[in-house]
Symmetry: D2
Subunit: 388 residues, 4 copies
C-alpha cells in the first residue's frame, strides 16, 4: 500500500485509497494473469501464481517501460515470464492481449474498492436513519430557495438524506453484482487464440475471479464502465446533497447542527472557529465527480477493436472516481455519526421565522401549524424507514 | 407540436422532439394538475381536466410571467384557475407546490419521450443484429489502435454494436420502469397540506399517471434524475461508438461500408462526395451528452427543501439530453438499416494488410489465419445473438 | 425574432436571446454569403444581398433539408440561388464551402450577442461598484466555510464581486476583439478555388463583416471557439459567485440583503414568501455553463479538414452558452441594481457572532476589532475602484 | 521528486510531473511562508527560510493532520514553527490565513509547471512548422468528414497544426504573465491583520515570488484559476487535434505517416504491430482535460469569503490538468519530432481517390487539380509561417 499523499487525508479518506493505488492495480493485473494460467490448466499455474505478487515487481520501472508500448501489461508480462522461468513462461498471458488483462483488472479493482465504499455509504445511510428515528418529531423550519417556508421535522430531512444515499448504494451494489465482468477476447476479440476453448475460459475465468461472465468480450462495449462511473457519480451527488445541508445548518446564524469531533475543525488564522470539516471535505470530494463521469462517458466512443486514446484515458478518471467517492462516503459517515443536533435552536429558528411571516401575513397561520407538520412528517418518516 | 428549428433536422431527428418541446412540457404539467384534482376527488375534476389543455394556454405569456416568480407553474395555475371558474378554482393545485408539478411533469415527459427513443434504440440494435447474422462469416481486419491487427468478422463487430446498444436500452428501460415516479409533497415536502390523506394521494396519483410511487417525496433526492441522465448518456455513448466505427469504415481509403440512402450525403462545395451523414449526425448528437450528464449530476446538490438554482438548472439539460439521445437513436437506426456492406473490400483490405505484415513477420502467420478467426467469431456471434 | 419559450423568461432573459435564435443564425449565414459576393466583386452583389434576408426564407424547411446533407448551408445556398435568378446564381457561394459560411456565421452571431451581453455584465459590475462605494464602511461578518470569521465590510464583498465580473468581462471583450475572425478556405481549406485571390478575399471579407482576419483558414483549428467558450464559462462562474452570495445573504436567518423588485418572488404554495428570484435565476443559468464548455473543448479534436461529428456538435452548445451567459448577466444586473442592503442587520449579525466567539475565546478580541477591519477594507475598496 | 507511478510513463510524461507532485506543492507553500517572513522584515526571515525546505518535512504526516482541519497549511505552519524555534515562531505565517498560502502556492506551482510545459508545446509547434516547410509542396488528399475531398498539401495540414498549438501556447503564456498573482488577505481578506502595511506587503510579496500583484485579494474571485484551467484545456484540445490526425494518417490503410521511434509501439499479443504510441498517448492525456476544466469552472462558485468545498475541490483537478497538459505536450513533441512522412503514399492515395471520383463525376476535374491546390496551399503556408 502506497504512502498517503499530502492531500489524501482530505481527498482520499477511508479504505478505498488502498484498493485503487498502484499496488492494487498491479496486483489486480497479476491476479488476472494467475487466474488465466489456472483456468487454462497450465501445469505451471501454481508457480506462475507464486510470481504474480505485486511486491515482487517494481511499479516505477514497469511504468517507464509502459510508456514505450502504451500500456503497462507488456512489461508486466515480460517481468512475470522472466521470474517464472523458461518452461512456464509460455503459459503466461497465453492467448491474451493487454486489454484483456487491464479491463479485467479494472473490474477487479472496482469490485474490491466497492466493498469498503459500500460499507461507508451504507453506514452513512444508517446514521441518517438513526437521526431520523431520533428526531422523528423534532420540528424545524422547512427551507425552500433558502427561505423559511413551512415547518418540517429534522427527522423528515434526515430520512430524505437516507433515501438518496440508499438509492445510490442500491444502484452501486447492482452495478457491482451485474455489470463487473471479466474481459477476455485475445488480440482482436475473437477468442481465436484459445481454439474452441474460448467460451469455456470466459466462464471459468469469471468464476475464478468472482466476476460476471459476459456474453461477448466487451472490449469495444464500454457500457459497463459507463454504468459504474454513473453510479459513482450518483453516490457523490447523494453524499454532496447531505453534506451541503449540514454545512448550511451549521452556519453561525443557523447553528442547528454542529460536527461533533472535538479534535477537528480548527483554522490557521482563527483558532476560535469550529468548521464542519467532514461535511466540507465530503463536498470537496463529491464536487469532482461530474467532470470525471463526463470524461468516462466520452471515452465510450472508441475506434474499432481498441480505442486509440479513449481506452487509455479511462484508467485515471476511473481510479480517481472510485477514490473520491470512497472518500466522500467515509467523510460523510464520520460527519453523520458524530453530528450534534440542537433541537432547541431548531425550534427557536422556526418560531422566529414564523413570527416574522405572521406579522405580514396573518392568513399564513394554517400553513405554519407545527403540530400538523410534525404529524404528517412523522408518518412519512415511519413509511420511509419501513420500506428501506 | 412546435415547428422544427433550423438545426432540428440534424440535432433533433425522430419522434422524441415532439415529446419534449414546450407544448409537451406544458401538457405534462397540466396532466399532473388534472390528475391531482381527480385523485383528490374534486367534484370539479372533469371541468378542471377540460381546461388542462396545452393548446388553450399561451406558452410565451406563461414564460414571461414565470420569470417573475422563478418557475412556470405559478402562472399556469393562475391561468387554469381563471379558465375553470371561481367554484372550481380552489380545487386546482390544492395542497401542491410548484416543484410537485414540475418534477412530476419531468417524469411524464421522460416517460413519454422514452417510448419512441427506446423504439429507435431497439431498432438500431435489431439492425445491428441483422447485420451480424448476415455477416456471420464475413472476414475483415480487426483493428486495434487503428492498426490492422488480426482477422475478425464483420458479424462480430456488428454483434458487439448490438450488445452495447442493448445494454444501454435495457438500462434505460429499467430506469423508465423503476425510477420514474410522481413527486408530491406540498410546500416543503411533509404532505401536511393534504391532512392524513397524503400517502394515499401519492399512491393514487402514481396510478393515475402511470408513474411509480415513491416511499417519500423526492424533491430533495435527485437520484432519479441522475439515473435517467446517466442512462441517456450511456445510450449516447453506445450509439456514438457504432457511428464512429461506421465513419471509419466509410473512409475513402477503407470503403468497407457506405450509407445507403442515395438522396443524402451531398456537399455544398463538392457534389461528388458521398458523406455518411447519418453516422456523422449520430455523433454530433451523442457528443453533446457527457457535458449535459455532468450538469445534471452537479444539480443533485441542492439546498434543503428546494434548491436555489440547481433545481431550475435541470430543466433544459434534461430536455436537451432526451432530445439528443432520441435524435442519436433515430439517426443510428437510419444508418444501420440502410448500411451497405462491401464484403469483398473487407476481404481485400484484410489480405493486403496481412501480406504487408507477413513480409516483415513471417512468424505472425498463425495469428493471421482467417479460417480460425471466422470460426471463433461465428461462435461468439451465435452466442451473443442467443443470449440477447 | 422567435417567440420566447416556456422557460425563456428564466433561462433566456435579456437581449442575447434574440441574437442567437434561429433567425439570427440564418441572417448571419446570409450576411456572410452577401459579403462574399460583394468582396468577390460580383456585379450581382446587390441583388444577392437583397435576397439574403432571413425573413424571405423558411427556417423549418431549410432545417428539414439540412438533415439530408448534414448542414443547413447547402439548402440555404440553393434557396438563395433560386431567388436571385439564374445569372446571379453562379455568384452565390462561389468557391466557398459550407463550413466557411457556418463558421463565419458563428463568429458573427457571437460578436453580435456579446454586445448586449457585455452591456449587462458591465452594468452588473457597475452596480457592484456602486454598492461598494455606498457600503465602503458598512461592517459585516466575514464568513469562511460558512462560519463567521472576522469582520469585513459589505463594500469589500461588493468590490470583490466587481473584480470578478470585470475580469470576466475584460476577457470576453478581448476574445471578441482578437479572436472572432472570418473563416474562408473553400472545399478543404486551400483557398485554391479563389485562384490567387484567396488571401485578399480573406482580408476583404474580414473588413466587410467587422471580424478579424486570420493568418490561415481556421476550420481545423478550434482554439477560437475554445477561447470564446471558456470566456463565457468564466463569466458564468463570476456571475454565479455573486448570485450565490446574494442567496446566502438573503436567507431568512441572515436577512442582510433582499431583492428589491416588489412584483417578483412569489410562490405557488406560499404567497407569503419573498424569494430572491433574480439571484436564483442567475445561478440556474450559470450552473449549466461548465458542462457546455467541456463539450466545446471536446469538440476541438476533429478529424482532418472537417470533423465528422465534432464540428456539428458545436452549434447548439455554443448557442446555448451565449444565451445562458447573456441570461445570467441580465438577471444579475437586475439583482444588483435592485438589491436592498440592511446595514443594521449586518451590524447586528456581526455583533451576535462576535459575542458568541468571545464567550469562549476572549483572546480573539483583537481579531474581531471592527474599526481596524473597516479601515483596512476601505483602503482595499478604494484601491480596487481606482484600478478598475 | 516523487517516484513515477505505474501509469505515469503514459499519463505524466515529461518534466511537468515533478513540478506538480506533492513535494513541489509542499515546497511552493514553504516558499510562500519564507517570502512572507522576508517581506514583513522579520529578523528571523533567514532562519525561517532555512526551515522552509520540503525535504525537512514529512508530507504523509502533514497530510494526515491536514484531514483534521481541512487543509494542509495548518500542520505545515505548526511544523515550521516547531523547527524554527520559539522566538522566530511568531514570525511564521504572521497575519496570513491558510488560503493565502495555498492559493499563492497554486500560482507558484502553475508558474513553474508552465515553464517546461510551454517548452514542450513550443517545440511541438516548432516541429509542426518544420514539417510544414519540408512538405510545403507535398500534395495529399484533403479529407472532410473522413472522405477524400480535394487536394491539399501536407505542409498546409502541418501549418494548421502549428497555428492551433501556437494559439494555445500564446494564451497560456499570457495567462502565466498576466493572471498568476499572489493571494494575501488574512483571515477574511481585509489585510487588517497587517495593519496599514497590507497593500505594501501584497506588492512586495508579488515581487519576491515573481508573481503578479492583484488589485484586491482574490480568494473570492476565481477568474484566475478559471483562465488558467481554460488555457490548459485549450492546449489539450490543440494537441489532441494534431494527435488525432496522426493516428488517422497512420492507419494501416492510409499509411501516410509513421511514428519514427523504432524502440516503441509493440503489442503484447501482436509483436508485428507498429502502433503510434506517442499520438495515442497524447490523446489519452488530452481527452481527460474537458472534464477537469468543467470541474474547475464549477468551483468558481464559492460561498462568501471562503468556499466550503469548492475551494478544496480545486487542488487535485488543477494539479491533474497541469500534469496531463504537460504530458500531452511532451508526447506530441516526441511524436512530431520523429514523424516519418511518406510523401509517395500521399500522392498514391490522392491519385486513387481522385480516379474513383472522376469515374463517376468527370466534371469534378477542376476541383481535383493538384497543381492549383499546391500553389494555393504553399502561399498559405508561407503566410502562416511568416506571421507566426
Amino acid at each position: 500500500m502506497s504512502e498517503p499523499g499530502l492531500l489524501d487525508g482530505i481527498l482520499a479518506r477511508g479504505a478505498v485509497r488502498a484498493e485503487v493505488d498502484d499496488g492494487a492495480w498491479l496486483q489486480a493485473m497479476l491476479d488476472v494473469e494467475a487466474a488465466l494460467a489456472r483456468v487454462q490448466g497450465s501445469p505451471h499455474a501454481d508457480s506462475i501464481a507464486g510470481c504474480c505478487q505485486a511486491e515482487l515487481l517494481d511499479a516505477g520501472r514497469l511504468g517507464a517501460e509502459a510508456a514505450r508500448v502504451g500500456n503497462p501489461v507488456v512489461p508486466l508480462v515480460r517481468a512475470v515470464r522472466e521470474s517464472v522461468g523458461r518452461d512456464a513462461a509460455v503459459d503466461v498471458h497465453r492467448g491474451a492481449t493487454s486489454q484483456d488483462i487491464l479491463d479485467t483488472a479494472a473490474m477487479l479493482v472496482a469490485h474490491r474498492a466497492l466493498g469498503p465504499l459500500l460499507d461507508d455509504l451504507g453506514a452513512s445511510a444508517g446514521a441518517a436513519a438513526a437521526l431520523a428515528e431520533r428526531h422523528r418529531e423534532t420540528a424545524m423550519a422547512g427551507r425552500t430557495l433558502l427561505q423559511q417556508a413551512v415547518p418540517i421535522t429534522f427527522g423528515l430531512k434526515a430520512v430524505g438524506w437516507m433515501t438518496g444515499l440508499k438509492a445510490a448504494a442500491a444502484r452501486l451494489a447492482e452495478v457491482r453484482r451485474d455489470r463487473l465482468a471479466v474481459q477476455l477476447g485475445g488480440a482482436a476479440g475473437t477468442l481465436a487464440a484459445f481454439g474452441g476453448d474460448g467460451p469455456r475460459l470466459l466462464s471459468d475465468l469469471a468464476a475464478d475471479l468472482g466476476l460476471g461472465e459476459p456474453a461477448l468480450p466487451w472490449h469495444t462495449d464500454r457500457t459497463r464502465i459507463a454504468e459504474l462511473a454513473a453510479a459513482l457519480g450518483e453516490a457523490c451527488g447523494a453524499a454532496g446533497k447531505v453534506a451541503g445541508d449540514v454545512v448550511l445548518l451549521a452556519q453561525t446564524e443557523v447553528a442547528e447542527v454542529r460536527e461533533g469531533d472535538p479534535s477537528a475543525g480548527g483554522s490557521s488564522a482563527m483558532p476560535h472557529k469550529h468548521n464542519p470539516v467532514a461535511a466540507i471535505s465530503t463536498r470537496a470530494c463529491a464536487n469532482q465527480a461530474p467532470g470525471l463521469v463526463a470524461t468516462l462517458l466520452g471515452c465510450m466512443v472508441g475506434e474499432h477493436e481498441r480505442a486509440a486514446g479513449a481506452w487509455q484515458a479511462e484508467w485515471r478518471p476511473l481510479t480517481e472516481l472510485l477514490r473520491l467517492t470512497g472518500s466522500a462516503a467515509a467523510w460523510l459517515r464520520h460527519c453523520l455519526e458524530h453530528l450534534e443536533v440542537d433541537a432547541e435552536r431548531m425550534t427557536e429558528n422556526l418560531r422566529r421565522g414564523s413570527e416574522q411571516v405572521l406579522r405580514e401575513h396573518a392568513d399564513a397561520k394554517d400553513m405554519l401549524d407545527v403540530g400538523d407538520a410534525v404529524a404528517a412528517a412523522a408518518t412519512l418518516v415511519d413509511r420511509a424507514l419501513e420500506r428501506r
